[in-house]
């Protein structure tokens, strides 16, 4: 009897149980949204003021819970150091990164923590707290935003969320994705999937408009730019190629417009100097610029008063100011089209996503670039969240009308001796994808390897993005070149890297310690979970639920192995109660009631007692522990034993 047949009866019940309690979340640079599928249609959930958009702004206050959203945004100028906006630009990045690309300078109003105070390579911001000041990571700031969306959803759906799909820019690298997933966990969400934003948009669009053909998604968000080429055919959404820039967006337009406003002011020198030193003024200036940008979406010219001076900006001036930003989006578009082996006339349409695409100059630019007017019949600010809700629905229900096939945006490579990168997974490979590499030892008796994994298209490791350093240990001592170490790199359906290694001559799984180049260790995340307000509220129930689910999982697995091996010991009638109890447990495991899970475990125990007895009698009770699927442990401290470099066998 196959596993699948056993699984089926329980599955549908479980799906019913959690119907409607999964959501899609668009965690944006400037705004975030949460959406859900109701009666087959995705819709955004509104706050008490009827707003779908939650500004992605968090204001920390001494001794008080942080303010999130509109309230934080409105009071940003009062406390510019403590009010964090555009935190997405810092996700999964190191202090050196943001210094190098100018992000740190652009966000001069923030107090960045001294990187030498921390062992990891994670950006930290100093904000007000009851003890004076504390350092928060971008992950924690994002979690505050997610918590607000989570409680909005839980209030409106009437219960705890079963899971969430969170969207990320398609061009996000591994560290940025991991940080997003961890932020979700920290906010108490079970992250069902990380979904690429343009893919989400295409899903919402394709299902809503019942379109077929090849589409480009041009997604200019607050701080990131993505372009994806998709093929929509019979409910299968295949991403053909993707490209982008994770530090380019509407924010940059605001900054360009701010410069223009300063240049128009009679006291420009003085104000320019003041704005660069005074965070309150700089924030006011950016707010003014944004207001001008919005006004010019519908008007030919706009007049604002800034620093006691009425200033008029025409649409032509805006167009000129943002032209360099638009031109920067052309390169990724060209690359994506080339990788998809398409030209503009092969496309059935170009879908616009992101608030910044409301700017008329953007639409004109896109129309010229792709040789056709873009489609904008769905709200470009909501479409990503709507698509995420649809994907959450697909993952939690039986609906089979749509399937997404996505790609990895960046090539995965290994840094070899001399810093040369050997690409092992090319960009735009469909995920999940993997690559196996066999390595051998370099010195007699060598028991470990160092591997450096990078992401990017350049030929040297220093020009690519460092992803993680792996330390493989526990190789039996052999003469140089004798050991055969097979390392499997796997990019899963979330676009996240998994690594598994084994020594082929001894068949032993090698131990892998991962030092993520950017990002936090598992221990640090755990500690944050413990420290968080949420957890302090005593979510013992949640912990109990988690524990029962793990126990249920363990028992279900053991039973499946036993049934596969010795199922023939039972007649069909005898099998029936076990199958039923198994289905009940599976359904309970997917629910949120830990007592029910515990009861179902007991029931299954009782139902399978006879079966267990027979297996014992038949002397068939083989070890059912299952083969070890190599797990990746994340180690905080990486001891710097100088291991000899690894030598790949081929080339």
């Amino acid at each position: 009897m196959s596993l699948f047949q056993i699984a089926e009866p329980g599955e549908s019940k479980a799906k019913e149980a959690c119907k409607g309690r999964v959501v899609g979340i668009d965690l944006g640079t400037t705004n975030s949204l949460v959406a859900v599928v109701r009666d087959g249609d995705p819709q955004c959930l509104l706050d008490e003021h009827g707003q779908a958009l939650l500004p992605s702004v968090v204001r920390y206050r001494a001794g008080l819970a942080p303010l999130v959203g509109q309230a934080a945004k409105r009071s940003a100028a009062e406390a510019p150091h403590d009010t964090i906006a555009s935190v997405k630009r810092f996700m999964g990045r190191g202090p050196a990164d943001i210094a190098k690309d100018g992000t740190a300078q652009r966000f001069g109003q923030y107090r960045f923590a001294d990187p030498s105070q921390h062992q990891d390579d994670v950006v930290r911001l100093l904000v007000a707290s009851s003890g004076g000041m504390r350092a928060v990571t971008p992950l924690e700031v994002s979690a505050e935003i997610l918590r607000v969306l989570r409680s909005r959803a839980e209030e409106q759906l009437g219960g705890e969320l079963e899971g969430a799909v969170i969207t990320v820019p398609a061009y996000f690298d591994d560290a940025q994705r991991q940080a997003t997933k961890d932020a979700g966990r920290l906010a108490g969400l079970s992250v069902l999937r990380l979904l690429n934003e343009p893919t989400a948009a295409a899903l919402a669009y394709g299902l809503d408009k019942k379109r077929q053909g090849k589409f480009a998604v041009y997604d200019l968000g607050g701080g990131t730019f993505d372009v994806s080429i998709l093929d929509l055919c019979d409910g299968i959404f295949t991403v053909m190629a993707t490209s982008g820039d994770t530090a380019l967006g509407g924010d940059d337009m605001d900054a360009a417009l701010a410069e223009l406003l300063v240049a128009k002011h009679p006291r420009r020198e003085q104000l320019s100097a003041q704005a660069s030193q005074d965070p309150i003024r700089s924030r006011q200036l950016l707010d003014t610029a944004r207001a001008v940008k919005h006004a010019l979406t519908t008007q030919e010219q706009a007049t604002v008063t800034w620093e006691a001076e009425p200033l008029t900006v025409t649409r032509g001036e805006l167009d000129q100011a943002i032209a360099p930003i638009l031109h920067r989006t052309a390169g990724p578009c060209r690359r994506a089209m080339k990788d998809a082996e398409l030209t503009g006339k092969d496309l059935s349409g170009v879908i616009l996503v992101g608030g910044a695409t409301r700017v008329p100059a953007v639409r004109r630019f896109v129309a010229e670039l792709f040789g056709q007017p873009p489609l904008c019949d769905l709200d470009p600010e909501q479409v990503v969240a709507l698509g995420a809700a649809v994907q959450a629905d697909i993952l939690s229900s039986e609906r089979q009308d749509a399937l997404l096939i996505d790609v990895t945006p960046l090539s995965l490579g290994l840094a070899l001796m001399g810093g040369i990168v050997e690409k092992i997974i090319p960009r735009n490979s469909r995920i999940p994808t993997g690559a196996k590499q066999v390595f051998t030892t370099y010195a007699d008796g060598q028991t470990g390897f160092d591997l450096h994994v990078v992401q990017g298209e350049r030929e040297t490791a220093s020009e690519c993005r460092s992803l993680a350093r792996f330390k493989l240990t526990g190789i039996p001592k052999m003469a140089a070149g004798m050991a055969r170490l097979e390392v499997m790199f796997l990019i899963d359906e979330n676009g996240l890297l998994q690594v598994d290694a084994r020594e082929l001559t001894s068949g032993r799984a090698a131990h892998i310690a991962v030092k993520p180049s950017y990002g936090l260790s598992e221990e640090q995340i755990e500690q944050m979970l413990v420290d968080s307000f949420e957890h302090a509220e005593g979510d013992l129930r949640k912990r109990a639920l988690l524990e029962q689910r793990i126990e249920a999982e363990r028992i279900l697995q053991a039973l499946d192995v036993a049934l596969r091996q010795d199922g023939e010991l039972l007649s069909e009638e005898e099998m029936q109660p076990i199958v039923e109890a198994r289905a009940a447990l599976q359904a309970a495991r997917n629910g949120a009631d830990h007592r029910l899970i515990a009861d179902c475990i007991t029931a299954l125990d009782v139902a399978s007692k006879e079966f267990a007895q027979r297996r014992m009698n038949a002397g068939l009770s083989r070890a059912v522990t299952g083969k070890s699927v190599g797990t990746v442990e994340k180690a905080v401290h990486f001891d710097e034993n100088d291991l000899p470099p690894s030598v790949p066998l081929a080339e």
């Binding site: 596993l3 699984a7 599955e11 479980a14 799906k15 069902l192 999937r193 055919c233 019979d234 299968i236 295949t238 031109h327 920067r328 052309a330 390169g331 578009c333 060209r334 690359r335 089209m337 080339k338 030209t343 503009g344 010229e368 670039l369 792709f370 040789g371 697909i394 993952l395 939690s396 399937l403 997404l404 096939i405 490979s429 469909r430 995920i431 999940p432 994808t433 993997g434 796997l490 899963d492 359906e493 999982e553 279900l556 697995q557 499946d560 599976q586 997917n590 299952g626 699927v629 081929a650 080339e651």
Partner: protein, 191 residues
């Protein structure tokens, strides 16, 4: 194909229910891939037990690898040669290549370097044209070679091996040109 041992064992071809042949219809391949994905994609198993999901992930990974390999002429050729016991990823197995070919390649490299320095787009276009026509010829040789291999011509295997190595030189060359062009491209060009 007698030279392939254990043809009943699982290959990228059998995974997609295709015959073990070099000639592949790409539209048909895509169609087969999508049908398999409908049933094998991890999203279809999001609520399955962890043990099953791990297996599903590996199977989907394999399917994607199979698709990627079979889609490209050069990767498919390398894969088929590997099934015939010739591992062309091992550069040490490289056969002695025709000296005329090697000097041609060197000359082309020099011309490309000149074209870059002089920003001579006409020269670049002519190099590109030559590379493309060489690649076309090589591709025809691959198709013809595999037909002979399938007909059990004993000389075919070593000739194919050489063709694959030669093709790799041209591919690298074409990649370099593409990279250069990408860096050069103005932002105003229409797609």
């Amino acid at each position: 194909m007698a030279a392939v041992r254990a043809s009943s064992s699982k290959t990228y071809f059998s995974l997609l229910d295709l015959p073990l042949r070099f000639s592949v219809d790409l539209a048909d391949l895509e169609q087969r891939y999508r049908e398999k994905s409908r049933n094998w994609h991890p999203d279809r198993f999001s609520r399955a037990p962890a043990s099953e999901r791990a297996a599903v992930l590996l199977r989907a990974t394999e399917l994607n690898e199979a698709y990627r390999t079979l889609r490209s002429d050069s990767k498919r050729a390398e894969y088929l040669l590997k099934l015939h016991g010739v591992d062309v990823s091992d550069e040490s197995k490289k056969p002695a290549l025709d000296p005329t070919f090697l000097s041609d390649i060197l000359e082309l490299r020099e011309e490309l370097a000149d074209a870059r320095v002089e920003r001579d787009n006409e020269k670049l276009a002519s190099i590109k044209h030559r590379i493309a026509s060489e690649q076309k010829q090589l591709s025809e040789r691959l198709y013809a070679g595999f037909v002979r291999l399938e007909q059990e011509d004993p000389a075919a295997l070593s000739e194919l091996t050489e063709t694959v190595f030669v093709q790799r030189y041209y591919q690298r060359f074409a990649d370099d040109i593409a990279e250069y062009e990408e860096a050069q491209a103005g932002s105003n060009a229409v797609l």
